[in-house]
């Protein structure tokens, strides 16, 4: 049974440790072998000074959070928008994926939850990734 979230409530936080092996795994999975992600020597010479994780891997973490909280409702009608990559995620980073329900609107027998999501790093004051998410829960699903 999924939790019934209210406005202002925080979503449960997920923690991940990022390493080069995980980034290489994402490259193999997605077919994106851009050297900025998989070649430490090349990436070390760029202004990033080292490899960085693929942006879509961060999106996968946000999807994981929403599926954990809202299950199939997210898969059948979730909307993730205004995603911003504000700081690179690097090997060695321990990141936290979380969010808050900013608003709940009632529509017939369903409720639409408007959430603000973020990926943060302990050593960074600002968020590394932000985004807005909307998901509608039918009355029968709640």
């Amino acid at each position: 049974m999924l939790k019934d979230y209210a406005s202002g409530e925080r979503l449960p936080e997920i923690k991940k440790d990022i390493d080069q092996k995980r980034i290489d795994g994402w490259a193999a999975l997605s077919g994106d072998f851009n050297r900025l992600h998989v070649d430490p020597v090349y990436a070390g010479k760029t202004h990033f000074k080292g490899t960085i994780a693929h942006g879509p891997m961060s999106l996968a973490f946000l999807n994981e959070l929403m599926m954990t909280c809202f299950g199939r409702a997210w898969a059948r009608g979730g909307l993730l928008r205004e995603v911003r990559f504000l700081a690179p995620i690097r090997p060695g980073d321990s990141i936290r994926i979380g969010g808050v329900v900013e608003q709940v609107t009632e529509q017939g027998s369903g409720r639409t939850l408007h959430c603000r999501l973020e990926i943060s790093k302990p050593n960074l004051e600002k968020s590394a990734v932000t985004g807005l998410a909307e998901v509608t829960i039918d009355g029968a699903q709640a």
Binding site: D32, N34, M57, A60
Partner: protein, 143 residues
């Protein structure tokens, strides 16, 4: 991705261009690898569900080739900026589904600062032709 492929430049991206659809099957191996790399242990995707013939796949798998769908024959020039993106999940994806992903250039123009703007709509459909995921990418193209 081979560096021998030509770069995809702004002149290659007129409004209305549709790219060759990319087809792939959502296999148990692909789902397992996705879950392993992401570190996602949601029981919704577990093997137990597969025994009942309806193992759910992570919705992100429908979007994993969004970028590749317009870079099948080209490489991305360096220096571009992804100004925005949006993902709309329409229908759950199951293991065994064959997805077809098609990218289309919805807008291609120079903005008021002479930056090259390219907006893509990438649609993933299942074998029934139903939309499972829509991705909108708003890019500033480097050259």
């Amino acid at each position: 991705m081979s560096d021998s492929k030509p770069e995809l430049v702004f002149a290659d991206l007129p409004q209305g261009r549709q790219f060759t659809p990319l087809r792939y099957e959502v296999t148990p191996t692909m789902v397992d690898e996705y879950l392993r790399v992401v570190g996602d242990h949601n029981p919704l995707y577990g093997d137990q569900a597969q025994k009942s013939g309806n193992r759910l796949a992570p919705p992100g798998l429908a979007a994993i080739y969004a970028r590749l769908s317009y870079l099948q024959d080209n490489i991305m020039p360096s220096g571009g900026v992804l100004a925005g993106q949006e993902f709309s999940f329409r229908k759950p994806v199951s293991v065994g589904d064959v997805l077809t992903v098609r990218a289309e250039v919805m807008e291609s123009y120079l903005d008021d600062k002479e930056r090259k703007r390219v907006n893509f709509l990438i649609t993933a459909r299942d074998s029934k032709g139903d939309e499972v995921c829509l991705v909108r990418l708003y890019a500033i193209w480097p050259k």
